[in-house]
């Protein structure tokens, strides 16, 4: 359709707007030129497709096929007869092969599937993971092992298959399908490969070697008459599939790569494919040319992966960087667990509701950033949301605050104090709350206060929430001046009763952990309890309780206690030698 036709069909006004669609629109936000956006056509893969491909899909198919075979066996009696016939063809052939040397070799190989060997491997793996504090991988190993052992236990009882009707040459225990020793060793080796060995050649070699060992063990057990072939094959397919899928879902390589050093970061790895995907996505979706993606300020952030995006050299913009926060399913889950923990420990904080998806989380943060900006709250300029993996990973891009310092690192004078308290006043007047006022989120740039990390912000908060924001700001200002000065300046913008309410609402739980530790350090070094000082100066106010015993909290506490009991009993069972591990 040419320009003339477009104007005829849509009218001149709409036509002018449509002229821009598909063309190279250019505009600037805080000096950054945005140009050349590109819409991803239907069917084109996202910048970083979901990481369940290749081996993951293969193992998923294996596990599904095993489930279907089981279903077939349960539903159709003739199926088990057919499987039995196939089993005995191979078993009879193996029995024909029996001789002394082969039997000795098979018995030797079968030792690898002994319970004590599997236990040593599992406990060794767990201890190694605990030593390097790789808790996520440790839990992934536990989950995979428990799924395989529990499924094996239940299915053995349900299916109740006897041992092969051939002379049995070694010791066995319980029903034969699925083969628990084969499944137990297979899931252990697969989990070890994924939890202990860095991605690459070594892991591939280990997994290949484990595969060879497993096939040899399975064959030896068939030869010895311990397992039917279908018992061993099913376990051989199902157990590693559970391990692979567990690690793909709970500790994906892209997010939690294995590196052998202590104190592994919870942040996503932005090198390799993810880094390339971010560059491509920012170019396509925002029209901004990024040349490098690097982690930035990760020590102060647990809820997202903060990044610095270096822009391609361009005379048109004075700033060379953008700030970005990468959100993934992992962060969403962390957010849920964090809120769940707070609910159990501290009661229902009135607005601690969880997000249902990563998209909702970033949509909310984008929205609150824009509301803050529109309300005149000094904060970083938002550039929008970039999709990395649909529904699973998104990037929030915003202005990089050059030359800014954390409030606790800056010189805090009266002007800064007034400015900071003025920001709280602005929040109150706009009906907003930041909810995470702490030194790391209050920056000083060009002698002005700028709030960052507004993700926890809320619209029309409760008065209690607003009071907590004020108290938290006064506390961190007092850390860099004195409580008396801060109180005196606060009276210029707030009523004494507002301040009294703020400190009546202040509890350990309402103070961010960074502020708590700074307060404790201040108390140790100066002998002054800042919160107590503010309470002394403000009019008397009764403490405001935030403990709320709801049905949900009681239920959650009971579930948590039950889970703890299960974990403890499992540990006791393990120590006494009767458990699954």
């Amino acid at each position: 359709m040419d320009q003339h036709t477009s104007e005829e069909s849509t009218g001149p006004v709409v036509g002018r707007e449509l002229d821009l669609v598909g063309g190279r629109r250019e505009f600037k936000i805080v000096g950054i030129t945005i140009a050349g956006r590109r819409r991803r056509p239907s069917g084109e893969a996202a910048p970083l497709p979901r990481d369940l491909r290749g081996a993951g899909q293969l193992w998923l198919m294996f596990s599904l096929s095993v489930l279907l075979v089981w279903m077939w066996l349960f539903v159709s009696p003739s199926a088990s007869q057919w499987w039995t016939e196939q089993d005995y063809r191979l078993l009879d052939w193996l029995v024909e092969l029996r001789n002394e040397s082969l039997t000795s070799t098979a018995k030797l190989l079968n030792v690898l599937s002994a319970e004590w060997i599997i236990r040593i491997l599992r406990l060794g793996t767990l201890v190694a993971l605990a030593l390097v504090k790789r808790w996520r991988h440790l839990f992934a190993v536990l989950i995979a092992v428990v799924i395989v052992e529990f499924t094996g236990d239940v299915l053995q009882d349900m299916i109740g298959r006897h041992r092969p009707l051939v002379p049995i040459l070694a010791d066995w225990e319980g029903a034969s399908h699925p083969s628990r020793p084969v499944g137990g060793l297979a899931v252990t080796l697969a989990a070890m490969g994924y939890a202990l060995i860095p991605y690459g050649t070594n892991r591939r070699r280990f997994l290949f070697g484990s595969g060879v060992v497993m096939v040899a063990v399975a064959l030896s057990r068939m030869y010895l008459g311990l397992d039917h072939p279908s018992d061993a094959w099913v376990a051989l397919l199902f157990a590693p599939a559970v391990a692979v899928l567990t690690f793909r879902l709970f500790a994906p390589e892209a997010s939690f790569p294995i590196t052998w050093k202590r104190g592994v970061s919870a942040h996503l790895d932005v090198s390799g494919r993810r880094g390339e995907a971010i560059i491509q996505a920012v170019r396509d979706q925002l029209g901004i040319e990024v040349v490098e993606v690097a982690p930035f300020g990760q020590e102060g952030s647990g809820g997202s992966t903060p990044l610095r995006l270096e822009l391609a050299p361009d005379d048109s913009h004075p700033e060379d960087y953008l700030f970005a926060k990468l959100y993934s399913q992992t962060h969403l889950r962390s957010d849920r667990w964090y809120k769940l923990g707070r609910t159990i420990l501290y009661g229902a904080l009135e607005d601690e509701l969880r997000f249902t998806s990563v998209r909702r989380l970033v949509e909310y943060e984008d929205y609150i950033q824009r509301v803050m900006r529109d309300s005149g709250i000094p904060s970083a300029e938002p550039f929008g949301v970039v999709e990395i993996t649909p529904e699973r990973e998104y990037l929030m891009v915003s202005q990089f605050l050059f030359g800014s310092k954390e409030l606790t690192d800056a010189d805090v004078d009266i002007a800064i104090i007034d400015d900071a308290l003025g920001v709280i006043r602005q929040l109150w007047d706009a009906g907003l709350a930041h909810r995470d006022i702490k030194p790391a989120n209050v920056m000083i740039r060009n002698d002005r206060v700028v709030l960052i990390d507004v993700a926890f912000g809320t619209v029309r908060p409760s008065p209690w929430r607003q009071a907590v924001d004020l108290a938290n700001m006064m506390v961190i200002l007092a850390l860099r001046s004195t409580p008396e000065v801060v109180y005196e300046r606060a009276l210029l913008q707030f009523d004494p009763h507002d301040i009294a309410e703020a400190f009546a609402a202040t509890r350990s739980v309402t103070l961010p952990s960074q502020s708590r530790s700074s307060l404790a350090a201040f108390r140790r070094s100066h002998g002054v309890d800042i919160v107590a000082e503010f309470r002394r100066m403000a009019p008397h106010a009764e403490p405001i309780s935030i403990q709320r015993w709801s049905t949900r909290r009681i239920a959650l506490a009971l579930v948590a206690a039950f889970a703890l009991m299960i974990v403890l009993s499992t540990l006791v069972s393990e120590v006494s030698g009767g458990g699954m591990l």
Binding site: L60, L64, L67, L68, W70, M71, F74, V75, Y88, L155, D157, M158, I159, G160, R161, H162, R163, L165, V166, P167, I168, A170, D171, W172, E173, G174, A175
Partner: protein, 283 residues
């Protein structure tokens, strides 16, 4: 359909299809050798050289659960009520029968031994009256107490009427067949008291009133028990019954175990397998 939904559907289908097959995990005495259940076969496979393996004829109503397990050299049936295992039946290649006494087994090729401690259901009390008046008094007490219970155990009262023999002799005889002995003399008749001694040991308690005597007896009475072992020894194996019961179950456990647990002839099953073209054991 999403992956998650597909997995859920498959998992539900597997569980649903499996539900119809639950409960096939106990060795049944009535299972024909040509179509035994898996537990029967596993029992034979665990100890193929044994002539018999334990099996179940039926389950008693007051037995909550029976757990079957088998591995090389061992077949085990654990019978539970609540959380307690009251009977543990094990088939092993050999067993140590200790001081167990041989009893009739009812089968030519099976020798049965028993070594059990039984606390009977009845509490036996013998009253030894010393004179005419005490005899009348004792008979009155016997008719009053017979049919009453101590700790859920029926009290059986016997009055020794053979006044011609010495009291010592009569008390000695009474102690051999009773749990408690009372002696009642003329003074006791007048004062409403008696002298009491538990036969399991202990001193005479003299001048004790009737109600106090019954309270003392109630404190001393043990629960009904059936503890110990049965051994069924046969060619290639031995089945040990390990009983640990008390209360009402102890009264009937021996009879129930005899009726519920039987012997499955392993050779029948091995022959049937051979007839079907399998060779489960070396010839």
């Amino acid at each position: 359909m999403t992956l998650r939904r597909l997995l859920l559907v498959v998992a539900v289908a597997v569980v649903a299809s499996a539900c119809g097959r639950l409960g096939t995990g106990l060795p049944a005495c009535g299972a024909p050798p040509s179509s035994p259940n898996a537990a029967n076969v596993l029992s034979v496979q665990a100890l193929p050289e044994a002539a018999y393996a334990p099996c179940l004829n039926s389950l008693e109503l007051d037995w909550d659960e029976v757990e079957f397990s088998a591995r090389s050299g061992l077949v085990r049936l654990e019978f539970e009520r609540g959380t307690d295992t009251f009977l543990d039946v094990r088939l092993t290649a050999t067993c140590d029968i200790g001081d167990a006494k041989e009893v009739r087994s009812g089968q030519e090729d099976v020798t049965r031994y028993e070594d059990v401690v039984v606390v009977e259901e009845e509490v036996r009390l013998t009253i030894v009256p010393d004179g005419e008046r005490p005899l009348a008094h004792a008979l009155g007490l016997a008719s009053q107490l017979n049919g009453s219970y101590l700790e859920d155990r029926p009290l059986v009262v016997i009055v020794d009427v053979e006044a011609a023999r010495s009291a010592t002799e009569r008390v000695g005889e009474a102690a051999a067949v009773s749990d408690f002995v009372w002696i009642i003399g003329d003074i006791d008749v007048d004062e409403g008291t008696l002298a009491m001694r538990p036969t399991a040991g202990g001193e005479w308690i003299r001048g004790i009133e009737l109600d106090d005597a019954l309270d003392e007896m109630e404190d001393m009475v043990e629960d009904i028990q059936y503890r110990g072992n049965w051994y069924l020894v046969f060619d290639g194996g031995c089945i040990t019954y390990d009983f640990d019961t008390e209360g009402k179950l102890a009264v009937s456990i021996a009879r129930q175990a005899d009726a519920a647990i039987g012997l499955y002839r392993n050779s029948d099953l091995i022959d049937a397998a051979r007839d079907a073209g399998f060779e489960p054991v070396e010839r």
